[in-house]
Amino acid sequence: MQRIVVDAMGGDHAPEEIVKGAAEASLALPDAELILVGDAEVIGATLPRLRHDGARVRVHHAAQVVEMDEKPGEALAAKPDASILIAAGLVAAGEGDALVSAGNTGASVLACARAWKLIPGVRRAALASVYPTELRRGEKNDPFSLILDVGATIDASAEDLVTFAIMGAAYASLVSRNRRPRVALLSNGTEAGKGPAAVVEAHQLLLEATQLNFIGNVEGLDIPRGVADVIVCNGFVGNVVLKMLEGVSETVVRLARYAHKEKLTWRIGLMALSSALAQLKAVTDWQQYGGAPLLGLEHPFIKAHGRSTAPAITNAIKVAAKASAGDLCGHIGRGLAELSARREGSAP
């Protein structure tokens, strides 16, 4: 049985939408136990209003909450009974297998990093995010590629980037059922020598020391095309790229709204495309994907979007259950051990 710990108090719509998402997951995942951490009185008053399976939901009281706009370090220090701290602690104590939170990203990552160990061979954890692409991948025909790191490690070394590549490939092969994901480094050119020193060195290491399906460097424009399934970069670049991509998407939507208002012929054109646009919206709906995994720690952590409503939380829980059931962290550990063994074997 997969035991998924859920920070019930984290997120813009917490706790109601989080509890709703967990309630739905208790019906959808017959082999999972949901451990809701937060104000037991509020959760206890919300659950009986919802369809759920009472045998699969457990409540663990936490008296404090880290708000979305609080400074992570200060908030965790001031609130020892915060739901995210208690939740991460439960997993560390072996009472849960994976964690899901839609709360304050910094506080969530920090709470996990403090409570959990890194997987042997990992120096720094990476936060991964998904982005909708033109090409699809894996047995699930997944329309998302994985980008990591998007903010956990601002300045990554070549070794870190190789580790991120192994972690991203393990995640894609498990969650997207993509047996041999195409891994690429994000750079300012496709040539091996392009980019900063860490990227150039990582390129060489990935080619020589790993058995990943490494396709070389990709440029920013290749991300939405879906040329690669796993795109590796440092947290600074990844965060800038992710925010820019989000900004472009929002601008396109605003332009479409403007066009809809401005001219009748444009409106008719948009109406003619409406079913295709609706399909595109469904495919690219981030709520369907659940959340961003924090990779490199000894337990899976899925960071759901702060604006998550119940369906996104249910999907995040499903991803967490899948990562736990598929032993994602074990896969990453074995991948890194193989890398280490290969490099030791080839050392002069």
Binding site: A40, E41, G44, A55, R58
Partner: protein, 347 residues
């Protein structure tokens, strides 16, 4: 004939037996299933067996299944080792022959007189517990039965309720007569509703604290333990059957216990008393002769842990003195709800 101490009235489909009858296909499948094919919910068999073998307890089964299924249903109960004192089924062939098609689906006009007839037909017990499910009108029928016996529903009101439930005139007259004759008393101690459809438990709040919606039979056993109907050993008998089914773990049983606490249907003092009793059980004897089941100390610890995790958080407030039920509205609402479900293709 001496009066029993406690009567337990059970529905079968969706309460004891895992039955699907949301579509015509489900109905056909249910009708042609053999006794061995029929599946009871985990823990239900152990609970029924415990109740039927306790001195002074009487088990009466009142099911909406047709009388033609008596052989297969009786065989299923026999296979499960369940004995019973009464077994009432619905005579749907007679309904068809008389052109009473409305009666085929009717719940209240069938079940209420069946319950009243059973109560009036034998020495009355001072206490009754009723088991039903959330798929049909069990909550309404059982509360109405309880209120009739307690004298909270008069004959005029009952006549209006039966009219609203589309009872045929002779059915209504017979039900009114049975209600007059049934030995009275506020005897229905507990109504247990099995949430087969996983309906939100709060939807049953209007029926008052006597009615407890349960997700599984460990919860039913816990309620009966709190009521003093079962002891800790009998409760564990139910729990072990559920663990044996492979569909429950110690954690999910402990979660079930915590769910009842959060809903204010089980006090922490009762849980701690149970944990003490379980923890004090010796390692000898029938219950502990299973190395594949968790030791008593582990069970007791799991139960205590779920109390501790709530850290004294107040449970949901439950109305201790609920408003009298407006049965006519409830019946009308249930009728509309069933019609809407049929239109959507769910039976």
């Amino acid at each position: 004939m001496t009066a029993p101490r406690h009567v337990f009235r059970w529905d079968l489909d969706k309460t004891y037996l895992r039955t699907e009858f949301d579509s015509l296909g489900d109905l056909i499948k249910s009708a042609i299933e053999t006794a061995a094919d029929k599946q009871a919910y985990p823990g239900a068999t152990a609970l029924l067996r415990t109740l039927s073998t306790t001195d002074g307890y009487k088990v009466c089964i009142v099911s909406g299944s047709p009388t033609q299924m008596r052989t297969v249903l009786a065989a299923k109960l026999a296979l499960d080792g369940v004995t019973y004192d009464e077994f009432v089924l619905k005579d749907n062939v007679r309904n068809i022959l008389r052109g009473r098609f409305r009666a085929l689906r009717a719940q209240i006009p069938y079940k209420l007189p069946a319950l009243l007839g059973s109560r009036g037909g034998s020495p009355p017990a001072p206490a009754e517990t009723l088991f039903g499910d959330d798929a049909e009108a069990d909550a309404i029928v059982y509360c109405l039965y309880a209120d009739l016996l307690a004298g909270r529903v008069d004959q005029d009101t009952l006549a209006r309720i039966l009219s609203s439930a589309r009872a045929y005139d002779d059915e209504a007259a017979r039900t009114l007569a049975l209600a007059r004759q049934a030995p009275k008393g506020d005897v229905v101690r507990r109504i247990v509703i099995h949430l087969d459809r996983r309906s939100p438990p709060l939807g049953f709040r209007q029926f008052g604290p006597r009615l407890v919606p349960v997700f599984n039979y460990f919860q039913a056993a816990l309620v009966l333990f709190a009521d003093g109907v079962l002891d800790a050993r009998q409760l564990l008998f139910v729990a072990f059957e559920m663990l044996d089914s492979g569909q429950y773990h110690l954690a999910t049983l402990a979660n079930s216990l915590q769910d009842l606490m959060r809903r204010n249907r089980l006090g922490s003092d009762t849980v701690l008393r149970l944990a003490d009793e379980v923890g004090a059980m010796t390692t000898g004897g029938l219950l502990s002769a299973r190395p594949d089941l968790p030791p008593f100390a582990t069970i007791a610890r799991a139960f205590t842990e779920r109390v501790r995790e709530l850290r004294g958080a107040a449970p949901v407030a439950w109305p201790t003195d609920p408003e009298p039920l407006d049965y006519v509205s409830l019946v009308d609402h249930e009728h509309d709800h069933r019609r809407a479900r049929r239109r959507r293709g769910h039976g």
